[in-house]
Amino acid sequence: MAEPTVKAADTGSPVVLLEGVTRDFGETVVTRVLKSIDFRLGGGEFTALTGPSGSGKSTLLNLVGLLDRATTGRVCLDGVDTAGLDDTALTRLRGGSIGFVFQFHHLLPAFTALENVMLPGIARQGRPSAALRKKALELLDRVGLSDRLKFKPSALSGGQQQRVAIARALCLNPRLILADEPTGNLDTEASDQVFELLRQINREEHTAFLVVTHDLNIAARCDRIVELVDGRITSERAAAPGGG
C-alpha cells in the first residue's frame, strides 16, 4: 500500500522546495532547458523522476544538488534559500546534506573502496579520523562489501562500484540522496539489488530520495513519479499500489 508512505512523507517539512525555477544555457543562442518548475520533496520521500532523453532531468538534479544555480526562481534546501549562499557555503551545505549516486562508476580511481567512502568526511573534517573509518566500515558492511575494502574501483564490478558509491553517499548521514540513473548501467539482477538497497536505506534512515530512471519497473516501486517533458513537469502521481 503506497498510501501511508506518501502521507508520512508529506507530513515532514520539505527537504527540497523549488519555486518557478528556470535554467537557461548558452550565451548567443539561449536555450531554456527548464521552464518554470515548481517542485517539492518531503522528508523521507522516495520519488522517481522520469521523462524522455534531453527533457532536463539531469539539469534539474544538478540544481537540487547545488552543483548548479538556477537562472530564475528559488531553490530551497531544508528551508534554506540557497540564492544568498556563496560557493563555499553551498559546498558545505551540499557535502553535509546531500549524497550523490551517478549512473557511471563515479568513484575516484586512485583511492580504495574504503577511502572513497571516507572522502566526503575527510573533506569536511579536513583530515581522516577513527570515527570516520568506523562509519565507513559499517557502511561497506551494510552494502555487502566488507571483503573489498582495499580494492581499487577498477577491481570491482559495476554493481559493486555502485554499492560503494551508495555507501559514500551515506557517509555524512545526508537528509537527501540524488541518484541519476543509478541502475542505468547495470544488468537486471544488479539493478534490483542496488534499487533494493536504496529503498532499504530510505525505510531505515528516512533519507529522502530523488531518483532519475528510465526503467518503468523501478519507477513503479517508488512512492511518487514525477514526469518531465521538454523542461516542464507534466505529471505527478503516486506510484502503483504495491510498487514499494
Binding site: 548548479d68 563555499t88 586512485a110 583511492f111 573533506a123 583530515r127
Partner: protein, 421 residues
C-alpha cells in the same frame, strides 16, 4: 595527514607519467644550475685565489709627483705671429706630451703613524710595510735584475702567508738573510745556504745568505722577488727609515675597493685595491657570471613552463574526478591547495634528485683533469648556500607553475565536469 595532502599524494602516485615527466624537468633544471654554479664559482674562486696568493688586497703609496709638461715644438706650417694673436690656437698647434718623472723611490712620511691609521679603517685586518725597488743579484758570473722587497716578516705573513709556500729552507730575513723565488733560484743555480750579492743603482752593495726558497704559483713573482729585511732594503735603496708602500689585507675581498677609497681619504695617500689593479680579470669574471645567470634564468623559465603545461593537461584529464570531489563537499580552496601541494612536492622531490645529478656531474667534471699538484683543473664549489638557493628556487618554481593549473581546477563547474568531463 590533511585532506589536501592525502589527495595530492594519491594523485601524484596515480599519475605516474606526469609525475615522472615533471620530476625529470625539475631535476634536470636543478642539476644544470648546481653544476653550472658550482663550476663557475669554483673557477672564479680559484682564479681570485691565485691572483691574491702573491698580491696584497690594498697597496698604499705616496702620491705621484706632478707630471712635467713638455712642449715638443711647433707643427710645420703654422704662423708664429698668428699664434701670438690667438693663444687659443696654441693648444691645437702644439703637440703636448705629459711625462712622468723618472721613477725613483719615494717614501711615505711618518709611516708608523700612517700604518696605525690604516689599521683602524674598518675592514682592514692586517697592514705591512714594504720597501721596494729594483736591484741586481750576482752569483759568480750569473747576474739577474730583480725586484728587491724589504719586509717586516711578522706583518708580511699576514698579507701573504709565505711560510706555507716554502719549497726549501725557512722563511727568515733577519740580518743579511734573503728569501728568493724558485725561478730565480734555478736561474742563478743557488740553494739554501748559498750567498748572493745584491747591487742597486743607489750604490748599495751587500752579500746575503739564502735562508729559503718559495713558490707563490706566479712565474713573474717566482722569477724576480728577493725578500730581505726592511732595514737591509732601506740601506740598499738609500731610503733610511722610509718605506715605499703599505700593503693591507681586508676581511671581505670584494669590499677591497671601497675600503681602499676610505684608506685614501683618511691618509691622503694613493690606495689601490686588487680589484683596480686587476680590472681585466674582474670584468671577465663579471661577464662570466652574468652569462651564467642568464642561462640559469632560461633554465628556470623552461622548467616552469614545462611543469605548468604538464599540470594543465593533468587537470583536464582529471576534470571528472575534480567534479566528483566537489560534489561530495570539497571546497574550491581545498582543490586549489591539492594542486599547489602537488607543485611543491614535485619541486621538492625534483630538487632532491637534481642535487644528486648536479653533485655527481660536478664531482665527475672536477675529477676529469688535475693539475700536477693534484688539485682539480676545474675546481667546483658545492656550497650549502647553493643547495639552499636551488631548494628555494625549486619550491618556488613548483608552486608558481602549479598556480594557473590549480586555479583552473578550483574554478571548474562541477556539474559540467561530472557530466561532460
Amino acid at each position: 595527514m590533511s585532506f589536501e595532502w592525502f589527495v595530492a599524494l594519491r594523485f601524484l602516485r596515480e599519475g605516474r607519467i606526469q609525475t615522472v615527466l615533471i620530476l625529470l624537468g625539475v631535476s634536470v633544471g636543478v642539476g644544470v644550475i648546481i653544476f653550472l654554479s658550482a663550476l663557475i664559482t669554483g673557477l672564479q674562486a680559484s682564479l681570485i685565489d691565485k691572483t691574491l696568493g702573491s698580491q696584497a688586497h690594498i697597496v698604499v703609496q705616496p702620491p705621484d709627483e706632478m707630471p712635467r709638461l713638455i712642449v715638443d715644438g711647433v707643427v710645420a706650417g703654422t704662423d708664429p705671429a698668428a699664434l701670438a694673436r690667438d693663444p687659443a690656437a696654441l693648444g691645437e698647434a702644439l703637440t703636448v706630451r705629459l711625462e712622468k718623472p723618472a721613477q725613483r723611490p719615494r717614501s711615505i712620511n711618518q709611516w708608523p703613524q700612517v700604518m696605525r691609521e690604516v689599521e683602524q679603517v674598518p675592514g682592514v685586518i692586517a697592514v705591512s710595510p714594504l720597501v721596494a725597488g729594483s736591484a741586481f743579484v750576482t752569483r759568480g758570473v750569473a747576474s739577474r735584475s730583480v725586484a728587491l722587497r724589504g719586509i717586516d716578516p711578522e706583518r708580511f705573513i699576514r698579507i701573504i702567508d709565505l711560510s706555507a709556500k716554502m719549497t726549501a729552507g725557512v722563511f727568515r730575513v733577519a740580518g743579511t738573510e734573503a728569501v728568493i723565488g724558485t725561478g730565480l733560484a734555478t736561474d742563478l743555480g743557488v740553494r739554501t745556504g748559498d750567498r748572493i750579492r745584491i747591487l742597486t743603482a743607489d750604490g748599495g752593495n751587500d752579500i746575503f745568505t739564502i735562508s729559503g726558497v718559495f713558490d707563490l704559483e706566479n712565474q713573474a713573482v717566482n722569477d724576480s722577488w728577493v725578500l730581505v729585511s726592511l732595514k737591509s732594503a732601506q740601506n740598499l735603496l738609500d731610503l733610511s727609515g722610509g718605506i715605499s708602500a703599505l700593503e693591507a689585507r681586508v676581511d671581505r675581498i670584494f669590499s677591497a675597493e671601497i675600503i681602499a677609497q676610505q684608506v685614501a681619504r683618511r691618509t691622503g695617500l694613493v690606495a689601490d685595491s686588487w680589484m683596480k689593479l686587476n680590472r681585466q680579470l674582474l670584468v671577465g669574471l663579471k661577464s662570466q657570471s652574468s652569462s651564467s645567470i642568464m642561462i640559469q634564468v632560461f633554465v628556470v623559465v623552461a622548467v616552469a613552463l614545462g611543469i605548468a603545461s604538464v599540470l594543465v593537461v593533468w587537470v583536464v584529464q582529471k576534470n571528472r574526478e575534480i567534479g566528483i570531489l566537489r560534489a561530495v563537499g570539497t571546497t574550491r580552496g581545498q582543490i586549489l591547495r591539492v594542486f599547489l601541494i602537488q607543485g611543491l612536492l614535485l619541486g621538492a622531490a625534483g630538487w632532491v634528485v637534481g642535487v644528486g645529478i648536479g653533485t655527481t656531474l660536478s664531482l665527475f667534471f672536477a675529477g676529469l683533469a688535475t693539475n700536477p699538484d693534484g688539485s682539480p683543473t676545474f675546481p667546483v664549489n658545492l656550497s650549502g648556500q647553493l643547495m639552499l638557493g636551488t631548494l628555494v628556487m625549486a619550491l618556488g618554481v613548483g608552486l608558481f607553475s602549479a598556480m594557473a593549473p590549480a586555479r583552473r581546477a578550483a574554478n571548474l563547474d562541477p556539474a559540467e565536469a561530472i557530466h561532460r568531463g
